[in-house]
Amino acid sequence: MTLAAPMQELRASYAFVERNINLTKRYWGWEVVWMLYTIANSLAVVFIAQSVNTAVGEDVLTKATEQELILFLAIGALVWHYLAVVFETVSDMISWERWEGTIEYTFMAPVKRSTHMVGTALFSLVYGLIHTAVVLVVIVVVFGLDMENANYLSATLVLVVGSLSLVGIGIMGAILPLLFPEKGSQMTHVVQAALVLVSGVYIKASEMPEPLATMSVFSPARYVIDGIRGALVDGKGVVDVAPTLVGLFISGAVLIPVGVYVFSIGERYAKRTGRLKRNG
């Protein structure tokens, strides 16, 4: 078995990474706006923890428990932002190309669809990590969080390995704008909203009401968020989060090929019905 073909596909996947980097540079003004929006959004969530005592009119939270709640919400907001960036970048790969009018050019190119998706996913991971790191720094500075106990290595590992599952779900989500040119992009937000609801972003999954608690068992995002809370709050090391890493890796290893397969069915349907056309 020769490695030449996979290497050629890997090199071709860089086309999508480089293209997205160039687009990010060209849209730098909007990137700044997006970053400010993300920071504002995350701060708004975390401020809830600071306002609890004022809202109920008595000191139900001590200073220490208030800090714990701040950290709990901050991690939820940050991790969800990261996972949302990965999911959106992958699922929007079709709607973006359709909007630009390049969808037919890209689909006519001699690269496998998996190469297209790997390139898009690689970019989304790096972009998401940079974005999240900036927001994390702002939150730590604004709220004066004590992160001495945090284990950043295991947190990053959980985040990156956990992203694989979201890439798989994102690829399946990308079918929606492929098959429904007018409203498919908005429909991916429904998938995203369902994930945020059942993944224990702002409430512990174990404390969610039924049937949400049962549904959360099937959400990979739940294990990513739990794993990162363990790493950043409890300082769990790589060995401690290893079972989570293995589970997330298996989940990603299943969901990505399933996503590519489901997408290929959608692509064939789009080619039969003429839905690849640039304007829908």
Partner: protein, 305 residues
Amino acid sequence: MTTNPATTATAPQMEAPMTTATLAEPAHTPARPLSDTIAVEVNDVTKVFTSRPGLFNRKKIGKRVVAVDHISLTVHKGEIFGVLGPNGTGKSTLIRLMSTLLMPDTGSVRIFGFDVEKDEAEVKRLINRVSVEASFFKKLSPMENLMYGARLYSVEPGLARRRIAEILRSLGIEEHSIWSPMEDMSRGMQQKVAIARAFLTAPVLLLLDEPTTGLDPHSKREVQAAVREIRATHDATVLLTTHDMQEADELCDRIAIVDTGRVVALDTPAALKAIVREPGGPEPSLEDVFLKLTGKKLEDADKVD
């Protein structure tokens, strides 16, 4: 640097004609031997589009459009083959079927012996397409857009950068425009960049879907010269759709006239005109041929469409 006489003779406006040296070699090894003489073989192809009733509005009536109606044609290697007809007669659908962007409902399309459905990967390595609307990332520069294309087609990046600049300059794109966003360029310039992108990957079959529609006469001549150039210098086969009679007459070796999804005539421009030539009468045009064969003028057919 060699000059192609065909280009300079017919398009003196082109500042620096393309040369073979500016074209990248195809980065592929076909899985099977290519057909020696037949570039495109369309065999009894039909394509029908059906719009379904709305999901929430079942009363909305679905529409059925026969875009390609049992078309058969053969394009020989090295030809410039024209598909001539008014808007909405299935020309673009035919090109999309050849580009692997659509699947035929019935019949088959083969490119150099490869079936567009079964051998999609092989077909994709042999073709490139320029559409009526230049499809680019508008915020990116021509260099960035073409580098994206070069990587997709496995052209070595260093070589691609040099050749992109060469090809764009040869098509009259100014140096500063090479690095500026595409959205700052005129449509004619964008279309030339689209042609350059197709040249960069050195396709053996170039599919041009109304590449000169909406261009000013000067840009139109430059694009037409570029088409002749790629055939002359790179032994490429060109399939061109157009509703410009003069363009088809001047550029194409053979022409298929299509109307309502069907081929109504297929021959050389001279042979087609001979159909309507009257003894002692004026030299007929392809417009006369179209009128005779379809019973309508091309402009009228466009308006109805």
